[in-house]
Amino acid sequence: MATTTVKSAFWRGLRDGAPFVLVSGPFGLLFGVLAAEAGLIVPEALTFSLAVFAGSAQFTALQLMQENAPILIVLISALAVNLRVAMYSASLTPYLGAAPLWQRAIAAYFTVDQSYALSIVKFESEPEMSVPERMAYFFGTNGLVAPGWMVATIIGALIGAQVPESWGLDFVLPLAFLAMIGPMLRTPAHLAACFVAVVTALPAAALPYNLGLIVAGLAGMMAGAQAELWLERRLKENRA
C-alpha cells in the first residue's frame, strides 16, 4: 500500500517536472556549445555538468576562466551565484529533514531551481504527504530534468565544436544571463540590487583580478537587503 503511494508520488513529480525540460534543455545545449567554444572537449563539458549540476554557476565559471581570472575568484563568484541552493536546502529541511541521511545526501545533489520550486509548492499545499512520498516526489521532479541537462550538454558540445569562431558567440553568454535575470526581478528590492550591481560594476571593472565582480555583487546584495528593510518599514508605517 505504502509502496504504491510512494511510486505514484514519484510519477507525479516526473509529470510535473516534464515541462521544465524545455527550459533546462536549451540552457544545457548552450552550455555545451559555449564550453566547446572555450576549448573544452565533450568529456570535459559532460564532467562539468555532471559534477557541478548548476547552470548559472557553470556559465559564470566558464566566462571567468576565459577572462583568465584567478582560480579563487572563479570559485568564489560561481559559488556566490549558486548560494541560492543553500537557501533551497534550508527551506526544504522542515519537509525532508526526517528522511534517512543517505536519501538526504542524494537529495542535496538534486537540489536545483526546478526541483525546489515544484517541491516546495507541493509540500506546502499537501501537508498530509508522508516523508517517503515527499522524497519520491522530489526525485521525480528531477527524473527528466537531470538527464535532459546532461544529454543537452553533450549535444551542445558536439555542435559547438563545429561552430566557426566568426559567429561571435561570445555575446550569447551575456544574453543568456540577461534572459535569466529578467524573471528573477520580482520585487523593488530585487530591482534595487540589480541596479546598484550594474552601476557599481562599470567603474569596478578597473579593479585587478576581476575583483570588480565581487565588489559590485556585494554592493548589490547590500542594496537589496536595505531596500527590503526600507520597504517593510514603509508598509508598517502605512498600516499604522
Binding site: 576549448g39 548559472s56 522542515p94 538526504r104 551575456p174
Partner: protein, 110 residues
C-alpha cells in the same frame, strides 16, 4: 579562442563540484531545522540578482565581438533581452528574443 589550461579547468570543476554540493548539503544534511540569522538570509536573497548583473555589465559595456569597443547595438540587444525577461517572466521567450535580435545585429553589422 584561448584554450584553457587543464590544471585551471580541473581545479575549477572539482572545486565547484565540492563547493556546490556542500552548499546544498549544509542545511538539509547538517543544520536541520535551526533558523538562520535574519540579516544573513536577507543578503542571501539578493546574491543571484546582484552577482549575475555585475558579471554581465562589463560584457555588455565592452563586448568581446567588437574587441571591447563600446557598441550601441550590443547594448540595445542586451536591453531588449532583459526587458522581455522582466515583463513576460519567461526565460525562454527572453532568450528567443535575444537570439533573434542578435542574429539581426550580426546580419546588419555584416
Amino acid at each position: 579562442m584561448n584554450t584553457l589550461d587543464p590544471i585551471t579547468l580541473w581545479t575549477v570543476i572539482i572545486g565547484l563540484a565540492v563547493g556546490s554540493y556542500l552548499l546544498r548539503f549544509a542545511f538539509i544534511g547538517l543544520v536541520g531545522g535551526r533558523a538562520m540569522p535574519d540579516w544573513l538570509m536577507r543578503h542571501l536573497r539578493y546574491t543571484a540578482v546582484a552577482i549575475i548583473p555585475a558579471l554581465v555589465t562589463p560584457l555588455v559595456a565592452w563586448p568581446a565581438p567588437t574587441g571591447g569597443t563600446p557598441s550601441l547595438p550590443h547594448v540595445a540587444v542586451a536591453a531588449i533581452t532583459l526587458a522581455v525577461g522582466y515583463f513576460t517572466k519567461h526565460v525562454l521567450l527572453a532568450m528567443g528574443t535575444g537570439a533573434a535580435s542578435f542574429v539581426l545585429l550580426l546580419y546588419f553589422s555584416g
